[in-house]
């Protein structure tokens, strides 16, 4: 690098502006690709954007903490966005109330399956104890999952990554699973996506169908609350069993 450019780089890499801007640029490029693919779930915008950002940060030798100093402004919006889920939920409430029993049964069955199977499969294939504990809350939205991981002795930042990967797996794979099950009800499809793969699944559900999105949002909120209550009790028993 010439001295002028390296001086510019020193300035840019220390300012939050760069981290914020490349996050938005990478997402826009990823979203454009997603739309060009005809909303193919394989072209998941989170997956593509994260891949581009990790490549960029590695090539420029930038630390994640430096990047996050800028990207935290985007990350912060997860809070108000979670609150905003109340609106689609309210608008679909009539349908939710009519399905109260299936919603409750599906929630409890799905929530337990998510926690127990993640820990047991991890242990079966030799994951370390702290990795098993980080896996337990992987199906709920990032802020809840990180809080739960911290409480039970997992690694919160590893959990954040596992949560994102879980979301991508659900968003990419759900359609094939439901089609194979011959399941067409958009409410059930949405709810199952929300239980299994939280906000990323919910984002995908909203892109497909408004009703699926509302049920996914409901499932994500309920499963977040249930997992936060449940995991601290079952995790000790699960990893000690």
């Amino acid at each position: 690098m010439t001295p002028e450019i390296s001086k510019l780089w020193v300035y840019l890499s220390a300012s939050p502006l760069l981290g914020l801007t490349i996050t938005l640029l990478a997402y826009q490029a990823a979203f454009w690709l997603y739309q060009r693919s005809g909303a193919n779930p394989l072209a998941n915008p989170v997956l593509i954007a994260v891949t581009m950002l990790v490549a960029f940060l590695s090539l420029t030798d930038t630390r994640y903490e430096t990047y996050f100093a800028g990207a935290q402004f985007v990350h912060f919006l997860l809070g108000p966005a979670t609150v905003a889920l109340a609106i689609p939920l309210y608008l679909q409430f009539r349908r939710v109330r009519a399905m109260l029993l299936p919603v409750v049964v599906g929630l409890v069955a799905g929530s337990l399956t998510a926690v127990v199977s993640a820990v047991l499969v991890g242990r079966l294939f030799g994951a370390s104890l702290s990795t098993q504990l980080s896996l337990a809350p992987k199906s709920v939205t990032t802020p809840i999952a990180m809080g739960v991981a911290e409480r039970i002795g997992g690694i919160p930042s590893l959990t954040a990554v596992l949560v994102i990967v879980t979301g991508i797996i659900g968003a990419v794979g759900a359609r094939s699973v439901f089609d194979a099950m011959k399941l067409r009800d958009p409410a059930i499809r949405g709810f199952a996506i929300g239980v299994a793969s939280h906000g990323i699944g919910t984002a995908r559900a909203f892109q497909v169908n408004e009703q699926s999105g509302a049920f996914a949002a409901l499932a994500m909120g309920l499963n977040g609350a249930l997992t936060a209550l449940l995991v601290p009790f079952v995790s000790g028993w699960l990893v000690g069993a």
Binding site: H75, L77, V83, A84, V121, V165, I169, A203
Partner: protein, 118 residues
Amino acid sequence: MISALTLLLLFQLIGEVVARWLDLPIPGPVIGMLLLFLALAVRGGPTDDLRTTSQNLLQHLSLLFVPAGTGIMVHLHRVADEWPALLLSLLISTFATLVVTALAMKLCLRQPSREETP
């Protein structure tokens, strides 16, 4: 848009305060969501402004997960060591959760609808 954003932040703030005050394990934003839901039920629905703002925010919900997802670069070491266990756990568990949730709901839904439509 500003008033809608303020309202969302306000409910998040109330949620955080309630969570800490009552020492609940549920995160503040989730409590904020439940409180806003109750407020909407009492008031009889969102204003147009709140409705459009939340729609805009939720349309690009995926963007908000990008910074946390990029954190994978910090854990490349552990991921390199334990990737078969991690990948199998996430794949099997996510698909099992999708199937179990959907089947449980389908089974529950079938019975009452039979009673209603003879």
